[in-house]
Every structure is written in C-alpha cells, then in structure tokens.
C-alpha cells in the first residue's frame, strides 16, 4: 500500500519542484502504530530528492527542559548544528549525558541552565539520559534536513512552508522497530504542493525503567 502511493507521489513531486521554490508546499503526515492508534512523538523528516540539503539556518537555540524528572519534550527534533540548552526546572540536580554516536556529552551535576548549550553537529539520534534518574530518557533527533515535524497526540505532523520539491520522507520514533530508512516514502510537492503521507509503524516493546518512588509519596507513578 505504502509503495504504490509513494511511486505516484514521486512523479508529482518533481513537477512541484519545478513549479516554484516559494514555500507554500506542505506534507501532512499521519503516523499510527500497529494497532492503528495515533502515534505521538514520531519525527517525520523530509529530504529533497535532488540537490544538497539547504544550508542550516542560523543557529536557533533549542531547549530540552528537565521538569519533574522527565525530559520535556521527550523527543526533540533539531536540525544539524543546533545548540540545545538543557535547563533544569527541578529543584534537584540532574546529570544529563549521552553515549550516542551522533553526540556524546555529559553535563556534570547541575541546577538551573548550564551556560553553554550542547551543539548537535552530526545528524542522528541522540539518546539523553540522566545519570541520577535512571528512568529519565529523552531523544534529540538531529536531522540533516531542516524539513521535519513531530506528530502530536493525534499522530499527525505537518511539514509546512516546504519548497515544492520532491522529497524522500521518513519517520523515526523511539520505539521504531527496524531501520529508519525503511520507512522512507517519496512525496512530490511540485504538482499541487501538497502531500499526505501515512505510516503504520511497528513498535518495539517499550523497556522503560520505572520511576523511583517520590520521597513523601507512596509507591510509584
């Protein structure tokens, strides 16, 4: 199903590219899980089929908060070269780290916002952890393309203001089973500037660590 729609939309995309560079084209992505439920926090990335990716825009500062011993947002897609601040909104210290190949770093125990942001200079998935709170997990998706969006609770993501080009569109999700590349679809926005793509993702079993009990409260939540 997915393959057939991709083939037809790829033809359309090449036309759209020619039609104009003006960013009026958009891709609407709908991601559901294997049970057909809308999947939030899926990152949809669109990469133009032709031409090098556009140069990254001036470094916009991004933020991944630590609120209530969780990373907020849990999934943060950024374009390569984006500096990200990890402000600590809790009244305890955190020690954020990553062993991911895309970005290894470690922020020693800190409170408040560290002075320097972490610059994610390589595309890839960076898994964030806190060395103090084992259950804390967050993802910074470093995209080589500036065209990406994250699904909301309804499983929809809108990639707007796109040049009307043909795109390879892929989806990533923390629980994505299999290779990210396998999700790739093409969307040619050249024809009518709009494309609607949908993914049904097989998800891995979630292996989350339980939260530690909160002092003063009984049990876990």
């Amino acid at each position: 199903m997915r393959a057939s729609s991709t083939a037809s939309s790829a033809a359309l995309l090449s036309l759209a590219l020619l039609a104009g560079r003006a960013g009026a084209a958009q891709i609407t992505a709908i991601v559901i899980d294997q049970d057909g439920l809308p999947l939030a926090d899926a990152v949809v990335v669109a990469v133009p089929v032709q031409g090098a990716p556009t140069a990254p825009p001036p470094a916009a500062r991004e933020i991944v908060d630590q609120i209530d011993e969780e990373f907020v947002p849990r999934v943060k897609p950024v374009v390569v070269g984006t500096p990200v601040f990890f402000p600590n909104k809790d009244n305890i210290r955190h020690q954020v780290y990553s062993f991911s190949a895309a970005k290894r770093f470690e922020l020693p125990l800190y409170a408040g916002t560290p002075a320097k942001p972490v610059v994610f200079d390589k595309p890839g998935v960076v898994v964030l952890g806190c060395n103090i709170h084992d259950w804390m997990i967050g993802y910074v998706y470093v995209s080589e393309s500036p065209y990406f969006a994250k699904t909301g609770a309804d499983g929809k993501a809108l990639l707007g203001d796109l040049p009307a080009l043909a795109y390879r569109v892929r989806v990533w999700h923390p629980r994505l089973q299999g290779q990210e590349s396998a999700t790739q679809q093409t969307a040619d926005l050249g024809s009518n500037g709009r494309a609607e793509l949908s993914w049904k993702l097989a998800l891995k079993h979630e292996m989350r660590i339980r939260r530690a009990p909160v002092p003063g409260m009984r049990g876990h939540y």
Partner: protein, 803 residues
C-alpha cells in the same frame, strides 16, 4: 514299714511341678507376645503412615521452599544485575565499545555481586565479552531466549546449562545508555550455592538433571545426593516421569527415597528437572529407634515376666517339692526332716501346718513306740523291748561265744506299800527304785521293768559276775526310799540265770531267772542263781494246789484254837481259830506253808469257807456242852472282796444255830487296801450282822487308828513283834501303851498276842491291855485238847498267873 514308693511315681510328680513353671511361662509368653506383637505391628503401621505422610508433607513444603528460593534468588540476582548495569562507569565502558575495558568492567562488576558467570551480549545477541572464555566473543549467545524474555520483561532469569555443562542461575538485564545498548548476563553456579541452600533449608536431597529433548538419558547437573541414589533417580526420570510435577518412591541400594520431581520451565533446548528426595529410612530412623526400644522393652518385659513366672512357680513348686519330699520321708518313717519352707504366703502356711502335722506324727509315733517299748511309769524298756534285746544279745553272744546273764529283781513287800500307802506312793517307789538301779548299771546294760514290781537286767557277763552286780543292786536299795513324808525300807529278791550255762533260749532263760527269784524270795536269800532243782520246787507248788483241793475234799484240814484271856476277869473271852493241814504223807503242815500260797492262787476263799463252816459247827457243839466262847476266824483279802461272804457266814451260822455274836473275824489292815470301798462295804454288812471285826497284826503296816475305825473294827490285836520284848524294850512298851490308850479312846478292845511269859503279861496288865493270847497260857490246841484245857481253866489261877 511300708515299702518305698516306686521311683517313677516321684519322678512323675516332679515332672508335673516343672509343668507348672512351664505353664506359667507359656501363659505369660502367650499373653505378652501377641500383645507386644500387635503393639509393635500397630506402632510400625502408624509410624510408617506417619513417616510417609510426614515425608510427603516435607516434600511438598520442600517444593514450595525450593520454588520460593529459586524465585527469590532470581529476583535478587536480577536486581543486583540491574543495579550493576545501571552503574554509570559500567555503562560508559560498555558504550565505549572498548573490548578490554568492557571485559574488565564486566568482571569487576560481576565480582561485586559474587557472580560466577558474566557475559556481555550485543543487541544482536552475540557475545561481546565473557569472563570465562574469550573464544566465546563474537559467538551467538547461548541462551537467546533469555534475551527474548528480557526484551519483553526488561529482565529475565532462569536456570541454564552452560557450554561446560555447569548449571547456572542466570539473570539477563539490559545495559542502558539509557536505551539498551547491550545485554549483561550474570550467573551463579548452582552447585555449592543454591543446592546447599535448599538442602539446608528443607533437609532434602536436591538434584538437577538435564537432557536435550532428543536424548533418552538424563545428565546429572548437580546433586547433594550420593551417586548410587542419583543413578536410581536418573532411571526413574526416564520416560514420562519428568513431564509433570509429582512425587514418587525410588528404590536404591541406599534404601527407599521419596522423591518430588519438579520440571523447571523449559525455554531452551535443554530440559531441566529438579528433584527433592527424602530418605524414607532416615525419617523412619527415629521411629525405628522407638520400635527397637519398644521391642527391647517388650523383650525385657517378656524376660522379666518369664523369670518372674519361673520364680513364682519355683516359689510354689519348691515348697511343694519340699513338702512332697517331707511326706515321702514321713511315709518311710523319717520324721526328722522339717520342710524347709520360709515365708508368709499360703504355701508357707501349708508347709507350717505340714510341719506341725509331721511333728505331731513324730511325737505320736514316738509315744506309740514308747508305749510299745517303754514302761510309761519308769521310762525303762518294757518287757517287749527287753525280750527283744535279750534275743539280740543272745544271738550276738552265740556268735561271739560270750556269756549273757539275766537278773530278775522283785521288790519284797511292795504289795504292802501299794496297799497301805496307795498306788501313787507305790509308783514313786518304783520310779526311785528304777533310778537307783539304773544309776548302778553301765549304759550298755539293759534294765527293764517287766510289770508290777518286777525288774530285769540284761548283762553281758557270766553268772558269777552277775551275782556281784546283783549284790551291788541290793546294796543300792539299802537306803530307805523317801516318798513324801514316808521313809520306806524297800528290799528286793534277785534271781539270776545265765547263758549259755542255764539255757540256750530267751524264754527259758527268763523262766529260770524267775524261778531263781522266787527261790530267793521264799528262802529270804536276797539273791539266788538258777539251778536245776528250782524247777522241781515249782512243780511241787503246782501239785500243792491240787493237794489242797484234795485236802478240803478229804477233810484233811484241822482246826486248832488258842484262847484269849480277859485280863480283868481271868475268864476265857474267846479263841482264835487257826487251821492246820494233816497231810497224809508229809504230816502236819503249818499254815505259813500253804496259806500264802492259797492266798496267791485265790484258793483261800475255799479254805475260809471251810474254816467258817468248821468253826460254826464246833461252836454249836461246844455250846451244847456249855462252852460259850467267841471264835475268831482269820479271813483274807479275797474274802473281803467277796460280796457274797456276809450271806454265806449268816447262812452258816443259822444252819448251825450259832448266834452271830459268837463269831468274830480277824483281818489284817493291809488286806483292806486293795479295794477299800468294796472291802469296807462288806465289813459294814458283817458288822451290821453283829459280827465282831478284829484287826490283826496292828503296828506292822502304815495304817492309823482312824483308819482302823473305818474298817468297822471292834478289836485291835497288837502285833507279836511289839509284845515279844516288852519287858526289856522301853520303846515297844511306849508304842503298846499309846496303841492301847488310843484304842480305848476309840472304844476298841485291845488284844496282845504272842505273849510268852509272865512278866510280859504283867506289863500288859499294867498297860491296860484288855485281852491276852499266847503261849503263856497255851499253844493253839486241837478240839479235844482245847475242851480239856477249857475245863481245867481257873480264872482265878489266870489272875494268879498274871499277878
């Protein structure tokens, strides 16, 4: 003597008593053995059931404990592994992908929780590092299913068999950074850890077996059991046994094992089964000890009961044996053995009664023997025993050619003592005599009392020696015998006969001694030895009796008369009638020669009747001639005991027409003694007939005047022995005087007989004697001469004589 009981009978008795012991033992055993046996069976049954139920309970609990322990260990292991895997340094090292560092971190952190196996597995399930063998690196992980489970559960644990065949409890956790980047596997060797723990908690034998599904045999992975038992268990597991959890019993050379089979969750290619085993014997051991104790107690109780039974039986049978033994002895005449039975029970009581019975029997038999062989009065052998001993002695003497002598001793005047002083005195005289004689003899000599006052002595010597001994015996009797207030002169006559000189057989020897004794008595010899002439004399005596009979028939007896003169008037007051025997061949026989013999034989009664008849006839004749005088007839003991006597006298007097007053009777005081009451009754009747009674020979016996009065006497005749020497003997005079005075006080007439001279006569007159009789006037005279003398008698002359 009864013949001894046949031996078999006694043995049969013994056997029966042994049977009592056996019966008691059999009874006790028969009672105890089934009871103890049943108790043991029941106890054994209950114990077995308890033990088996305890074993199954223990196995069920053990199974739960095992599972809990397994679970708990898994959890602990997993938790420890998780904590390790979250260690930042560990994660960092793993994340670096530096093999050496990763390996050392793995080993280091594994050591923290004491893990035996540490493996790091990549997400694509290949071994990154392993503490055991580096060659494993790059190989596929052996237990991918664990990771499958861990991917879902976040962690996984289980029992697995490693490459080297060791059983491990494994935990698999992800290494997070913070997403899983690898799998950390930590394992504990089951051997020496889990097995020990289970075993010590449950006290069960723990074993683990494993096999791949294709194999038939199970491999022992680990066990706390001995190898032989394992083999049995392995065999048991073959087939379907390992498919479900259940318990069964396994027999092995070590005994019976109750085994709980617990298949572990099957995940890989290797099936693993855990077994918990309990030795039935081990559980039964305390019960077995209890049973052994019970058995021992039972055996002890049985033994004690048996011994006790035997003892009780012995306690019963031994006294019974003793009693049986005693009664057998008694049967054989042996009374000496007491039944040796002690105690207070019934048997002892029976034994005491038996003993008393035995003593009674012994005493009575002794008594009987004494009565048979002993003289009761003197305790000397009696005639039977003496004859027996004499026979034995003579038989011995014949063999050894030795002499034997028999003394026959008879007391003189004993009859008189008996008559006058009573039987009790007589008996004491006999007893004392026996003692004296016995004291003079040797122990070996036998002295016996043959009866009455007759003793016999058996001596082992000749006649001459016997004479000396007889002499000694007589001398021993010289001393008066004192009985109460009486001092009695006892004299004896002894006859001696000897073997072999006098006779060869005991009876004849005794008869000869008897003859000798009579000869001694008659001749007043004291001692006489037998000689052949004595036998003849005896024969003479026998013929005397027939001659006496003939004498009465042929009227050979004659009366003589001796007058009694009244001292005051000089008149003839009467005459004593005496009897003579005009023997056709021997001439005149004096009364002393045949009257004692007639008294002995009882013929005296015939003589007395004849005399009374003759006297009455004479009195009648003389009265016709004008001669009126009282005739005094002597009567004997036998006459006094003849109750018909008074009637005979009365009839005789009537027949001759003679008044009773003209007849008097003379008795001796001793003649009354034999049967006083009868004699006195006769005397009273005579006295009632107005027949005077005169007591003859007064002073020679032991009677008193009071006694004389009892005899109804009217007259007293002082014995001639007092009268004879009256002139010279002052003592006699005093006696006579006192007799006269006392007699007069009692209103008795006093007669002095045997007066031979005038001086005596004079004395008597002075002493107040009433009547006098004797040679001074005349000797006894036959009828015609007396008539003449009577006619010639001048009373005045008599007075003159007296004067």
């Amino acid at each position: 003597m009864p013949s001894p009981r046949p031996a078999g009978q006694g043995r049969r008795g013994t056997f029966r008593f042994a049977g009592l012991e056996r019966r008691i033992v059999l009874f006790v055993g028969g009672l105890l053995i089934p009871v103890l046996g049943s108790v043991l069976l029941v106890v054994n049954e209950v114990n077995q059931r308890n033990a088996r139920s305890a074993i199954d309970d223990g196995l069920a609990v053990g199974g739960r404990v095992f599972e809990r322990l397994l679970e708990q260990n898994n959890r602990q292991l997993t938790q420890a592994a998780e904590i390790l895997s979250l260690d930042f340094a560990f994660r960092q090292a793993v994340a670096t992908r530096d093999l050496r560092t990763t390996e050392s971190v793995l080993v280091n952190h594994g050591a923290r929780i004491g893990a035996d196996l540490m493996t790091l597995v990549s997400l694509d399930r290949r071994v990154i590092a392993d503490n055991r063998d580096r060659r494993l690196v790059g190989q596929p992980f052996r237990f991918p299913w664990l990771i499958d489970a861990a991917e879902i559960e976040g962690r996984a644990a289980g029992m697995e068999v490693s490459e080297d065949g060791q059983l491990y409890q494994l935990a698999v956790v992800p290494v997070r950074a913070p997403e899983p980047i690898a799998w950390a596997v930590f394992g504990f060797l089951v051997r020496g850890r889990l097995d020990k723990e289970v075993s010590s908690l449950t006290r069960l034998g723990v074993s683990f077996f494993g096999k791949t599904s294709g194999e038939a045999r199970w491999t022992v992975l680990d066990s706390t059991l001995p190898p032989e038992q394992l083999q049995a268990q392995e065999q048991m597991l073959r087939g379907d046994a390992a498919h479900a959890r259940h318990s069964l019993t396994v027999e092995s050379p070590q005994g019976e094992y109750r085994t709980l089979i617990m298949p572990l969750p099957e995940r890989g290619a290797i099936m693993i089964v855990a077994t918990l085993a309990q030795s039935v014997d081990e559980v039964l051991a305390p019960y077995r000890r209890l049973e052994i104790i019970l058995l021992l107690l039972g055996a002890a109780a049985l033994a004690v009961s048996a011994v006790g039974g035997v003892l009780i039986a012995r306690g019963i049978t031994r006294p019974i044996h003793a009693l049986a033994d005693m009664s057998r002895r008694i049967e054989e005449g042996d009374f000496t053995h007491a039944a040796a039975v002690e105690g207070k029970d019934e048997i002892a009581e029976l034994a005491r009664r038996f003993d008393r019975m035995r003593e009674g029997l012994a005493a009575r038999e002794d008594q009987i023997r004494r009565l048979a062989y002993r003289d009761v009065l003197t305790d000397l052998p009696n005639r039977t025993l003496f004859n027996d001993r004499l026979r034995v002695a003579m038989e011995l003497a014949e063999r050894e050619r030795k002499p034997v002598a028999v003394l026959l001793l008879d007391l003189d005047r004993f009859k008189q003592i008996n008559d006058t002083l009573g039987h009790q005195t007589g008996d004491q005289v006999l007893q004392q005599t026996a003692r004296r004689l016995g004291a003079l003899l040797r122990k070996s000599d036998t002295i016996a009392r043959l009866g009455g006052d007759e003793f016999s002595v058996l001596l082992d010597c000749g006649v001459e020696a016997a004479k000396q001994i007889a002499q000694k015996l007589l001398k021993g009797l010289d001393e008066p015998i004192v009985v109460g207030e009486h001092s009695l002169d006892v004299r004896a006559s002894i006859g001696i006969a000897g073997y072999p000189v006098d006779s060869a057989d005991p009876e004849t020897l005794m008869r000869h001694a008897d003859l000798a004794m009579y000869a001694a008595k008659r001749g007043n010899l004291g001692i006489a030895a037998y000689d052949s002439t004595l036998g003849r004399h005896r024969r003479e005596q026998l013929s005397l009796l027939s001659e006496l009979r003939r004498a009465i028939e042929n009227d050979e007896l004659r009366l003589t008369f001796q007058p009694k003169i009244d001292m005051s008037s000089g008149e003839i007051a009467g005459a004593e009638v005496l009897v003579r025997w005009q023997h056709p061949e021997r001439g005149l026989v004096p009364p002393g020669d045949f009257i004692p013999f007639a008294e002995q034989t009882g013929f005296i009664k015939s003589i007395t009747r004849w005399v009374i008849e003759a006297a009455a006839r004479q009195s009648s004749r003389w009265r016709a001639l004008g001669m009126s005088l009282k005739l005094l007839v002597n009567i004997s003991v036998q006459d006094l005991l003849d109750t018909g006597m008074p009637d005979v006298i009365l009839a005789t007097l009537k027949r001759h027409g003679v008044p009773a007053g003209s007849l008097g009777l003379e008795i001796t005081e001793s003649s009354v003694m034999q049967d006083q009451a009868a004699a006195i009754a006769v005397l009273k009747r005579l006295r009632a007939l107005d027949i005077d009674i005169s007591v003859d020979d007064f002073g020679t016996g032991y009677s008193s005047l009071a006694y004389v009065r009892q005899l109804q006497a009217t007259e007293l005749k002082i014995d001639r022995s007092f009268v004879r020497n009256l002139v010279q003997d002052e003592k006699n005079r005093a006696i006579v005087l006192s007799i006269i005075e006392l007699a007069h006080n009692l209103d008795l007439t006093v007669v002095a007989e045997g007066v031979e001279d005038r001086s005596s006569l004079e004395v008597l007159r002075k002493l107040g004697c009433d009547l006098v009789q004797g040679y001074v006037f005349t000797q006894p005279l036959p009828e015609e001469e007396f008539r003449d003398w009577f006619a010639a008698w001048k009373p005045a002359a008599a007075r003159t004589i007296a004067a």
